[in-house]
């Protein structure tokens, strides 16, 4: 074993070490939170698409995303059902409606209406009540996230949707939309009756489930042939289209990339600055290393090890801070999604950036004149 000059020297000045690690941790936290929030929002943008058990989606022409639906004739579903390879097809209405709250306020809700929710395994996480009961009358199931906007509610209470009193017969969790508007589930015919001017005889989507062994491309081609004024997407295409809309139209993607870039920049500047200052302060020590026979490689390895230690410690602190922020962020109905590949990428990125930051110091030590050890 050798004397670990790099670590001992780094930890010798604890305040500087803390500043270096804080710089990395700040950058790591910024990247985790920004990317995590972005992924969380993107997750919400296509959450319902991914949980509905449909292989193909029929939408009106040029619909941008699941939330901004447009109507078309509900009779088209019959054409879809007649295509070979289609196991089942149902109309789905997604529509924004107003809800009058007991305190007199009016809030919005995004209604998902189907004839048979059970058949589509939707919503996927019902914690109270039975989703099949929706067919029996003026009933709704409301996602728990609505409590933030609607205030507390429980099963058995009533809420007035577009002027009609509807009984809450169940609650779901985890059903969120990109717009953060609370999701309400009701029977298809009930939704049409609430807004007849837009929805009578109309639907907004057709969900298509393929028969086992059916060729998805062939079915889609036939759908396009029979519904020339509609679009047909696979589940993945539709989910991606819904997510991409928000990224492109809101500048969300640009904002995320900019913040990630700035976070990395701040991190690299802090690390480079502290490492460089430290190098300058220890320049005579590095000169001594050279005078006693060490080469540039010995000094590079010291700096590289210090940069790596700062990166690992900063990553650990940043990751802990990011995970600690999760419950706080969830309280405001946002999700911080930190998948393992992101963690690995940020970890590797931290090390690469810290080593890049150390390059400035590398250049400095390469030019050290060992004769400086004789100067007073």
């Amino acid at each position: 074993m050798s004397v670990d000059l790099a670590t001992k020297s780094l930890l010798h000045d604890k305040l500087r070490f803390l500043i270096t690690v804080s710089g990395v941790a700040f950058a790591v936290t910024l990247v985790f939170v920004q990317v995590g929030l972005f992924l969380g929002l993107m997750d919400n943008a296509s959450l319902t698409i991914e949980h509905l058990d449909a292989d193909l989606w029929v939408t009106s022409h040029n619909t941008a995303n699941i939330d901004f639906s447009h109507t078309f004739s509900e009779t088209y579903v019959k054409r879809v059902r007649s295509i070979p390879g289609v196991a089942r097809a149902d109309n789905l209405i997604v529509w924004f409606m107003n809800v009058s709250l007991p305190n007199g306020a009016v809030e919005g809700t995004e209604v998902y209406a189907l004839e048979d929710f059970g058949r589509w395994n939707f919503p996927w996480n019902v914690i109270d009540g039975n989703i099949t009961d929706l067919r029996r009358g003026n009933y709704i199931v409301v996602d728990d996230s609505a409590k933030k906007r609607w205030g507390p509610f429980s099963v058995g209470e009533y809420r007035e949707v577009l002027g009609r009193r509807l009984k809450i017969i169940g609650r779901s969790i985890d059903a969120l939309s990109f717009t953060t508007t609370p999701l309400t589930f009701m029977d298809y015919r009930l939704a049409q009756s609430l807004n007849p001017s837009d929805l009578r005889g109309n639907t907004t989507y057709i969900l298509v489930k393929l028969a086992p062994g059916a060729n998805i491309d062939a079915v889609r081609a036939e759908l396009r042939h029979r519904l020339p004024y509609n679009d047909v997407f696979t589940r993945n295409e539709w989910a991606r289209r819904s997510r991409t809309y928000w990224v492109d139209s809101t500048g969300l993607g640009l904002n995320m990339y900019l913040t990630v870039f700035l976070g990395c920049l701040v991190g690299i500047v802090v690390v480079a600055q502290t490492l460089y200052t430290s190098t300058m302060e220890h320049i005579k020590e590095f000169g001594t290393v050279k005078a006693i026979g060490g080469g540039n490689a010995d000094i590079y390895s010291i700096l590289a090890k210090q940069a790596t230690i700062a990166a690992v410690a900063g990553f650990a602190l940043g990751a802990v801070m990011s995970y600690a922020l999760r419950p706080v962020i969830e309280k405001i109905n946002l999700k911080l999604v930190i998948p393992t590949p992101l963690s690995i990428a940020v970890f590797i990125g931290s090390i690469v950036l810290c080593l890049a930051a150390a390059m400035i110091s590398f250049r400095k030590v390469a030019s050290i004149d060992p004769a400086l050890v004789f100067r007073t």
Partner: protein
Amino acid sequence: MSILQAHNVEKHFTEGRETVAVLKGIDFAVERGEIVSLEGPSGSGKTTFLSILGCILTPTKGEVVIDGIAVNAKRLNDVRKRSLGFVFQQFNLFPSLTAIENVEYALNVKGVRGAAARTEAERVINAVDLAERQNFLPRDLSGGQKQRVAIARALAGTAPILLADEPTANLDSTVGTQVLEMFRTLAKKENRALVIVTHDPKVRTIADKVVKIHDGRLSQ
């Protein structure tokens, strides 16, 4: 054969448009076990000459021969590792390393590692009488103790040549004398050549040979 020789060494520095000759054809030799005091006024070129002997600078003209081999400018690091030990006026200890770690690290740089490095470091720390303070950081050592650590670092390993730059300049008279005496004893005992650049007349008391440098030339 002398362990360290300099033949007709010249060193020129360029300052602006002028070229200044700091060393003007120096011939010099030191035997194993010999102690040489290199004296001279400020600006006489003695530190430059020490830097050339220590393979830190290369001469503009002439050559340095160590242990019979002319120093190759491309392998200065290797020569420093293998053949030279340094003691500096400012001690130049690593502040984050303890006394024994300072010595052990120098051995690591020279390629000695693990238990062998620790054993050798303990040997030389004992030799400079610092066993009880071997785990102290430099900030907790007196000037004399720091210089003893620096001497131990120079002695660690098998380098046949020790070069010291004003080793007593930052020590009071009594401590300076003690350090010199210790240095002389250890250098003689281990048959190392010792070249001391100094202003301090006390160094003459331990030197076998006094060499004066003046205006870039030697006189004995």
